[in-house]
Each structure stands twice: as C-alpha cells, then as structure tokens.
Amino acid sequence: MPDLRDTQRPDPDQLLARVQQEESRARRGKLKIFFGASAGVGKTYAMLSAARQQQAQGVDVLIGVIETHGRRDTEAMAEGVERLPLREIAYRERNLSEFDLDGALARMPQLILMDELAHSNAPGSRHPKRWLDVDELLAAGIDVYTTVNVQHLETLNDVVSGITGIRVWETVPDKVFDAADEVVLVDLTPDELLQRLKDGKVYLPNQAERAVRNFFRKGNLIALRELALRRTADRVDDEMQQYRREKFVSSVWQTRDSLLACIGPGEGSEKLVRSTARIAARLEVPWHAVYVETTDLQRLPERNRHRILRNLKLAEDLGAQTATLSGNSAEELVVKYARDHNLAKIVVCRTGGNWRPWRRSFAERVGRIAGDLDIIEVASSEGDEERTRFERQTVSEKSTTPWTSYAMAAVACALAGLAGAVLFPIFDLANIVMLFLLAVVLVSVRYGRGPSVLASFLSVAIFDFFFVPPRISFAVTDVQYLMTFLVMLVVGLITGQLTAGYKYQANVATRREQRVRALYEMSRDLSAALMPEQIAEIGERFIVAEFGAKAAFLLADDNDHLQAPLPSLNGLPIVDREIAQWAFDHGEVAGQGTDTLAATPGFYLPLKAPMRLRGVLALELRSVDRLLIPEQRRLLDTFASLIAIALERVHYVEVARNSTVQMESERLRNSLLSAISHDLRTPMSVLVGLADSLLLTRPAPSGAQAEIAQSLKEEALRVSGQVNNLLDMARLQAGRVTLNRQWQPLDEVVVSALRIIERGIGRHPIQVALDADLPLLEIDFVLMERVFCNLLENAAKYTPAGTPICIGAELSERKVHVWVEDSGPGIPPGKEELIFRKFERGQAESSTCGVGLGLAICRAIIEAHGGEIHAHNRPQGGARFEFSLPRGNPPDFAAAELTDNAEGH
C-alpha cells in the first residue's frame, strides 16, 4: 500500500523547513511577549519582575524602553536594572525621545526590555515601527521581552474596534506574535481592573479621557479578556500541534487546502484580507491574495487603485502570496489561479444590496464555473456600501477617457452619415446600416468602450433622423425599422464592448510580452558582459526603460563594504550610502515604500546572488506606487537577481583568471629561482668539494696549505649561505609564500635548528626553557627552523663569546610567545624596528660579516604564519627577540593513543 505509506511519511520539505527554522532560531534572540487584554493589567510589571529574575541569575539585562507612566510600584521594580538612555530626535521643532537602536546594538546585552511592541517610532527613526526594531535586535542575537495589548494585534484590530468603538492605529502583525518564542498572558479579571482604575492605578492619557473611560466598560473588558484568552489558547493549541507533529509525525498530516482571497476595489477588501489571514492562521494553511484587473476596474479612480494596492501590501504583510491578474473575466481568472496553485477555498467579500438584480454576485459566478471549490463569503463592514456608491459617482465624473475621444466618436458617426448620404441613392438602407456599424467598430478599436457606446447611440439616431423615412425626423413610419434600430444598437454595443475588450487584452499581452522581452534581452546582454561596469550599464538601461527611474549600483568589496556607486551616463540618483549599507548588511530592501526608512527618497534593493550579496541597487523613482504593484516589484526583483547573478559570474571569472595568472607567475618565478639557485649553488658545491678534496690529498698538505684549504671551504660555505638568504628573501618577497604548514611540536624545531648551527654558536652556552605544555603549532618546519637559526646566529654574531643565549616559549590565551635572548650589548636604541628591514644592520660598519637579510627573512616568515616579531633590549642588558604565533586548533592525537592502548601493556 504505497499510498498509505506516502501519506504517513513526513514531507521531507516540511521537515527541512522545520530544521532550518530551528537553526535560524538558535542564532536569533528569543522573543517573549507579555500579552494582556487591555492597558492596566500589569504587563510591564510582570515583564520587569521576570527580567529581575533573569538578572538575579546573572543574565545581562538592559531596559531599552519602558513606560511606567509614573506608577510607583512599577518604577520600584525597574530600579537596579540598567537603562539605555533614550535618543533625542528633533521633529518639527519638538524634541521626541525615542529608543536608541544603535545604542542597544552597540551595548549588546543578553536580554533587552522593549515595552509596547506596537509603538510607532518618531519620524526619522530607522524603522517606522518598534516591532521592526525588535526584529533587528533579535536578528543580532539579543533576547527581547516585550508587551502587547490584544487590540494591537493586526488581525484582531477591527474586531476590537467593532467591540469598543475605538480604533487603534498602532498595530503589530500577527506573524510577529506567532513567531514569538514564548507568550505569557497577564490576566486580570475585569472587576479587579475596574477597581485599579478607580484607585487611579491605571494610566490614562489626558486627551480623550471620556473616550477612554468609555473603553473601560465592563462589557468591553470581558470581551477583550475573552479575545486575549482565546488568542493565547490558539497559540497553546498551535504549540501542542507542533509538539504532536514532532512526536508523532504520521498522525497529523493534513491536505493543504489553502485559501485565496479575492481583493476587490471596495472598502470591504481590507476586512476581507484580515479575515482571510485569520482563517488561514486558524487552519494553518498558506494563503494567496489576488486582484483581478479587468477592463472595468482599470478605469477606477486613483483613490480606489491606491486602496487596492494598499490591500495587496497588507495581504503581503500578513503573510500572503500576492498577484495581480489581468483579463476580462474575473471569475475565470480567479478559478484558474486557484487551480494552478492548488487552492481549495476562495474567500470573497459579500456584496450587499445588489443594484442590478439580474446580475449574479461574484461568489455565484465563481460557484457556477467551479463547483468543487469552497467559497467563503465575508461580510463587508457597515457603511462601506455608501462609500462605494459615492465613489461610483465619482467614477463617471473622473472618467479617464478624454472628451476628444467622444468628439472623435461623434465625428466618425457624422462621417458615416455623410458617406451614407452620398451612397444613399445607390445602396439599400440595409447597407447604409453597415457603414454605421463600421464606424462603431472603428471607434471602439481606436477610442475604447465609452466612445463606442456613444457612437452606437449616435449612429442609431443619425440613421433614424437622416435615412429612415420620414427623413429629417425621428418619427418612424415603418415599424420594421424599430427592429433595425434595436439590432443595430445591440450589435453596435456588443461589437464595441468586444473590440474594446480584445484591444485591452491585446494591450495587456503586449505589455506582458514587452516585460518578458525586456527580461530576455537583459539576460542576453548580461551574459555577454565581462566587467561590472558593463553590467551596471546594461542594468541601468533596462531599469530606465522599464521603470523610468534613475539607478545606481553600489558593489560590495571582499570585506562586505559597499563602494561608491559606479558612474553612469544618465546621472546618478541621490544615494545615501548608510542606508545602502544597511540594506546590504540585512539583505533587505530599504527606503521608499518599505519598512525601513520609508521617508528617505530612493529605494534600495540588495543584489542577492547564490553565493553572497553582491551589492545594492539604488533607485530614484518618480512614484513609489509603481513598486507597490506586485508585478512591477517582481519584475524589479527579477532584474535585480539577474544582475546579481551576472555580477557573481563576472566575479568568479575574474577570480579564475587571477588565479591562473597567479599560478603562471608563481610557476615562472619558481623555475627562475631554482635556475638561479642551481647556477649559483653548483659552483659553490664544487668549491667546497674541491677545498675538501685538497685536505684529503695524500701526502697530507702542510699546516699552512691545510689552513688555506679550510678557509677556502668556510668562505665558500658562507657565500653559499648568503645566496640562500638572498634566494629565500626573493621567494618570500615575491608574493604569497606557500607554507607547508603541519602540526608539530615547537621543541623539535628548536632542537633541529640547534643542531644545524651547532658549529656557528659553539662558543655560546645555550639554555632552552620551553613551557612543558606547549601545544602543537601549525607551522612550516623548514621555515620556522630558519627563523631560529637566523635569530641564534644573529645573537651569536653580535655578542661576545661565552655569553649565554636563551631560548624560551610560553603560552598565552590565543598565542604562543617565543623569544631568543642574549646578554650582549643590545640593540642600538631607536633601531628596534629598523633592524628587521632588508640590508639593515645594527652597526653600519663593523667587522661582523653579513648583509642584514637574516632578520628581514625572520619577519617575512613569522608574518606569513600570522604572527608578529619584535625586538627590544632587556632591562638587565642584552637583546630580546620575541615573536608570537597563533595557537589555532591543534588536532588531538587521540586516535594514535587509542591504537596504542588497544595493544595492551
């Protein structure tokens, strides 16, 4: 029974989603909401006492913002908890105190208290709403405690305003509430609350006190309390379900009957959106919201269009996937959309008081063509109908078709009449009618629906007046002609409607095709681009063409800093680098029409590529509304992601090219260096060998001869050492040194170095004092050995024979410090740094040989290992060369020991 298994098996996508959710939650801070039915139930107090408990447990607690309203017990509770000073914002000659988000992020507490989540921030703040501040705090990994009243929840807002008669404008989206890690209900019975009110323990704003008093009626309080309790119960239920899903995955696998909300032009749509969001949340299903742009609706007044866009935005905020469909038949498009997206329930707004009784309501029409889909009707709020009607009146007044179109329609009919007059003697009346029909069709094609209606009526009138006997009169002698008029009118109207409809659809199709073509052309052009500048130019060209906006591209460098905008021919928009950086850092849009810094001119869109963000696209739009249309936003997003992908491709092409060049030059350098080293070393080897052979000749050379041969050999070896130094320096200087880093004990390097230069420093006693618990270090053995050799040689060279040299090492938290100390004359003062330069020596002229490369090599090697090297004089005399190396994460050799133990003893 494979079917059964399939239904029982957890959907891997869902499991993955849950795992990802948990992961992102682990990084994010935790949000705890203290939830209450109304003001005065003691949320702030409860939050403070919970915070104090946390503080007592050693958590770093900070009060971000708290509103005690002068209540003494609450004030007392807040004492002893650190408060973040509020930020002063000058706004219209007033100073407003506002929460200091940057201050809080800089302070980085473990837990922050943010009273009144629904608060709207003063203009000029980074986010318009406090919950967005909280979101950023959570994203930064800070835990947040906050308070919310039930009437501030977005979806409950209108319910509460229906009960209390007071509408609150500060709301919190439900998704914030639902995503909270914990919700604590702070409950108080209405009687107790009223008692507290009487005692003056509840803060009431001075203005509109009566309205507020009205709010605190017992009936209201009971209803609010019920809402709060129910909402909390829903959440608890969700948690229970979540728990069950995790524990018994198979038992709660439901089919996803998602919802589709059909947004209309009326006022009721806002309620429709909120209701659908609530239902979707209750059913735990995703939902969509669509708006169908039909020919009729296209001619709506600006205000209605704005409202539609606002509702679409609201739906998006409430978690819906939104779309705008265009076509002639709203119901067909809606049904098709529902089927395409597997949506089983369609939510529509009930249109009360149908003024055209023969016309079916939208719900009925949908029901007729798709009987299998559930239709949920939502009541529109009272009073809407009046407004809609009022607006309908304004529709005709503000009709968009210009009067010239109507004039042209009249002219067309007049022309048809003239032509008819000319042809009247030759043709039948029936054929003259055709002329008028032609005129109507032409008008509808050219000028749309309104003029075509006018043309229909005018044609009938002209035909009747001028052609039907008796002529030059509207009177009709033959009743037959009434039939002609009727048919002519109907045919005219229908053709007009049809033609206008098809023309509109053709327009829509053309626009859509243009969009697709623009995308196609842009991606084709982008695929040919080789430089970021080219990409910016192509992107800009298309954005100017499609959106009529000025565009600027701010690309990120390797350290995630945005660079100055790339130059452009059309002039750059005004770009605020800080906002752009914010958008980049958060990977979210910012500026006009967004949640972040909406007041600034300009729109900032991060360019997301598969690997990382590539930069920010800054737009200066003439009108923000264009971006509110989901199609346009989506088009812009698609543009942005195409551009980002192109930028990434160019970036990687460059990386690949650079590495090829680098490999090539590395190879060249290496072969050059080894050629030189071979050519210099071979004669040296020969010299050393021959000098040695001289010593070994028989009969043995005399004392003087032997001495000469010996010094010959020593000098040759010394020159060879110098050559090594020069070659090493060349290698180290030439670019990145390829280190052969391996984990090794430092003492072995020291031992090996001591053995190599044993002869050179024979006259100096050497003390080795390495910490016993030094960890393994990830170092290049040969190069590190070189460092010790050079330091020891250096010490031996500049100090009198017989003075001790000390090698030591000790461990600090992140580094290992190693030093070589001598008891010589020390470094000439002021030269402590200079001696690490190439060809630099302590004493300018001295009998001591060497060209001064040793310490420069040491520095190059240590720095290649990510360490530092310095020299200074010891207080007790002598020089101390000290370097540090990073500890890293040494591997454990538990496996080696394991094998060892398994062998037994």
Partner: protein, 237 residues
C-alpha cells in the same frame, strides 16, 4: 672488481662535482664509475653490480626520482641522493620512491664519506642476517624480548613507541620520511597524520636520549623525516 673493493656509481651531470666526488671516494679505496644521465646511470647500474649509488636529482634527460623507481624495481642497494636545500618536496619524493639518504648541496666531502661508509656497513650487516640484540652507546635493545635498557636500567616503552624504535633500528642511518614511518607503525590509513610521528618521536627521545635537546640517536631531518644513527660520532659531521 677483482678484489672486494666496493663499487660505487656516481650519477651526476656536473663534471666538477663528479670529479671531486670520485677523487674522494677513490681515496677511500672504493671503485667508482661515473654516469652523466639517467640512461647512462641505469646502464652502469645494470652492468657494474654496484654496492652503492650516489645520485643527483636534476639530470639532463630526466628526473632522478624516475631513476630510483626504475632501479628499485630490481635492486635493493643503497641510494644516496644529492639535492638542493630548498627542494624538501623533491627529497621526500625521492626517499618515498626508495632512496635511502640525501645530502644537501653544498656538502662537505667528510660528510659524504661518512654517509657512504654507514650505508656500506649497513649493507654488509644486512647480508649477515638481522640480529635481535643491538647496543648503541648507553642503550641496549633486545627486540626479541622487547627489552630496552639504558645504562642497565630498563626503560618502559608503550607498544607504539616500541614499534617506532624497532622500525628505526631496522633501518639505521637511513632517512625515513614521515610517510614511511606512519605506514610502518600506524598503518596505511594514517599516512597523512604526520603529527603522530612528531609527537611520538618526542616521547621516544625523552626516554632514550640523555639530552633530548641534543639528541645522539634520533635526528630530525628538517621537513623530511627522521634518521636513526647508531654511532653518532661517525655519521654527523
């Protein structure tokens, strides 16, 4: 070839080096044949029945490592490689391919002679059959009984340390790469964990050397591996 003079082949393209190496070796009463390319070297090695080969890594007609691979297919005699100081990777490759020792250019004649002597001695001993009791300076090691004594005092070694020491003793005077040691002691699956060897060499040194900072038996070959020297006065110059 008439008497028991050991035969040594010097494969080196630089005539001067060949010459002084030859002089030095002949001075020791060894018989020397020269070759200046991989091809000539292989021909000489195949016909002269050498006891030891001194090989330069950079040859005009090929890489010395190729020579070693070819040569190791049919012969076990010691190979001493001459190489430039900076080419650690080449040395390791040559040793892993089967070379026994290496000398860095420029090298002293005394050093070369010491190495050649040590390898000839090892070869002679090897043919006499492996002993199980060794004595080096203050150390006495009985591989059969797993006993290690230093100045008469028994030393406790863990099994890994013992295996490491036994492998070193079995290959005296030769340079053993980290890889070879790992493979022999820890097994083929650990050949990349070179820090095992380093850490255990440290342990071993502390146990058997008088002064671990100035070892007399276990020498580190920078960036290459280790060398176990039975008689340090003879091997290191």
């Amino acid at each position: 070839m008439a008497d028991n003079k050991p035969v040594i082949i010097v494969v080196e393209d630089e005539a001067h080096i060949r010459r002084f190496v030859r002089l030095a070796l002949e001075d020791e009463q060894w018989q020397v044949f020269e070759a200046d390319s991989v091809k000539r070297g292989l021909i000489e090695a195949g016909t002269r029945q050498p006891d030891l080969i001194v090989l330069d890594l950079g040859l005009p007609d090929g890489d010395g490592i190729d020579f070693i691979r070819d040569f190791r297919a049919w012969s076990e005699i010691p190979v001493i490689v001459l190489s430039a100081r900076t080419a650690e990777a080449d040395k390791v490759a040559a040793l892993d391919a089967g070379a026994d020792d290496y000398l860095m250019k420029p090298f002293g004649v005394a050093e070369l002679l010491a190495r050649v002597r040590a390898h000839l001695r090892r070869r002679a001993r090897g043919s006499a059959g492996g002993a199980s009791v060794y004595e080096f300076g203050k150390l006495r090691i009985d591989l059969g009984k797993r006993l290690i004594e230093k100045e008469g005092q028994p030393i406790h070694l863990t099994p890994i340390e013992f295996r490491l020491l036994a492998y070193l003793i079995a290959n005296p005077d030769s340079v053993l790469t980290h890889r070879q040691l790992l493979k022999a002691v820890w097994g083929p699956s650990h050949v990349e964990d070179s820090h095992y060897v380093r850490v255990y060499m440290g342990f071993l040194r502390k146990k058997i050397e008088d002064d671990p900072t100035r070892p007399r038996h276990i020498f580190t070959e920078s960036g290459v591996g280790y060398r176990f020297v039975s008689d340090s006065s003879a091997a290191t110059a």
